[in-house]
Amino acid sequence: MHESSKAQQIIEIVSELMTTDPTLAKKKLTKVTLEMGRPYIVSPDSLEFYFAELIKITPWPCATLSCIESKELGPELIIKSIEVDDLDTQEDLADGNHGTKKCSDQEQCDRER
């Protein structure tokens, strides 16, 4: 429950970035790196699990979440960075599906991960 709402908040923040930053218009999200300080306020495994589930209904269903520990942080969660790739095809762009089409089946996602 707790991890699921945190995963949802992470997705909302990166979605806003992906859709409002014009330099990211022709990119697809591939990875989000999250920094966590001790004591942890969420379980990293559980957060990654819920992220993988919730990201499926976004335009970037293959994006992954990676949680890393930061010695400088306290009990906080900071989105450190995102990784993006060029959209795969002209077709994707024309469809405005930001890579959804290519990633929509699980096998493709697993290969990309």
Binding site: H2, K6, I13, L17, P75, I79, K80, S81
Partner: protein, 219 residues
């Protein structure tokens, strides 16, 4: 291509929390967020304190509960504005819920808002509601070992009310040992041993609280 973001995941909650705080400051309302595990005695404390507070101040209560409005019903005899928030399974109140709840309160006619959070010793720790004072209520029946187990919530409290001290002997709880445990994760919090059922144990705590309320009024 990697792009640096550096955004706190709670950025949205914190922004709304700050909006709430500005609204409360503008109206000079003192807001307390009462957190505890289920059954530690939050509503009992409200029941014991409201008669005194409402004789001197204009008070409203926001009640957080998963599904019921039982606690709000217990407070109805005080005839004050009460807003019920049902989180429908959610384990904490967040700033957005409080923002919604205060819309139905007479903000220009209040001195104090008391928020009873959902009973939980983990999740409410991360959510700023815009409060002036974060109160952790902890019952001696929960044992002496919990401060380190639930370090975030103990570390973030400005006041720790050690409740049910009337049961300390029965539960084999050494109060000084419990205070040492609290101090191992929070050096600064004001600690008050109380029994929410016994008025005479609440005097010192109520004085402390009232001073905070007055300080805000005089800001």
């Amino acid at each position: 291509m990697e792009i640096t973001v550096l955004k706190n995941v709670l950025i949205k909650n914190n922004a709304i929390g700050n909006d709430n705080r500005s609204l409360f400051n503008k109206n000079k309302i003192f807001v307390a967020n009462i957190i505890s595990s289920p059954g530690a005695g939050k509503t009992t404390l409200l029941e014991s304190t409201l008669a005194y507070l409402t004789s001197r101040y204009r008070v409203a209560v926001i009640e957080g509960d998963l599904y019921t409005s039982r606690d709000a019903k217990r407070l109805q005899p005080f005839n004050i504005p009460i807003v019920q928030i049902n989180t429908e399974g959610g384990c904490h109140l967040d700033a957005r819920m409080i923002h919604g709840a205060v819309q139905s309160l007479p903000l220009d006619n209040l001195d104090i808002i008391l928020i009873e959070n959902v009973g939980n010793l983990v999740c409410p720790a991360s959510f700023d509601l815009g409060e002036d004072l974060r109160i952790l209520m902890y019952a001696v029946t929960e044992g002496t070992d919990k401060p380190q187990k639930y370090a975030n919530i103990f570390a973030g409290a400005e006041v720790i009310l050690v409740n049910k001290v009337d049961l300390a002997d029965l539960c084999h709880i050494d109060l000084s040992e419990l205070v040492d445990e609290v101090r191992s994760v929070n050096e600064k919090a004001a600690i008050f041993p109380i029994s929410a059922l016994k008025q005479e144990t609440l005097v010192e705590w109520q004085q402390f609280f009232e001073e905070k309320v007055k300080a805000k009024k005089n800001e």
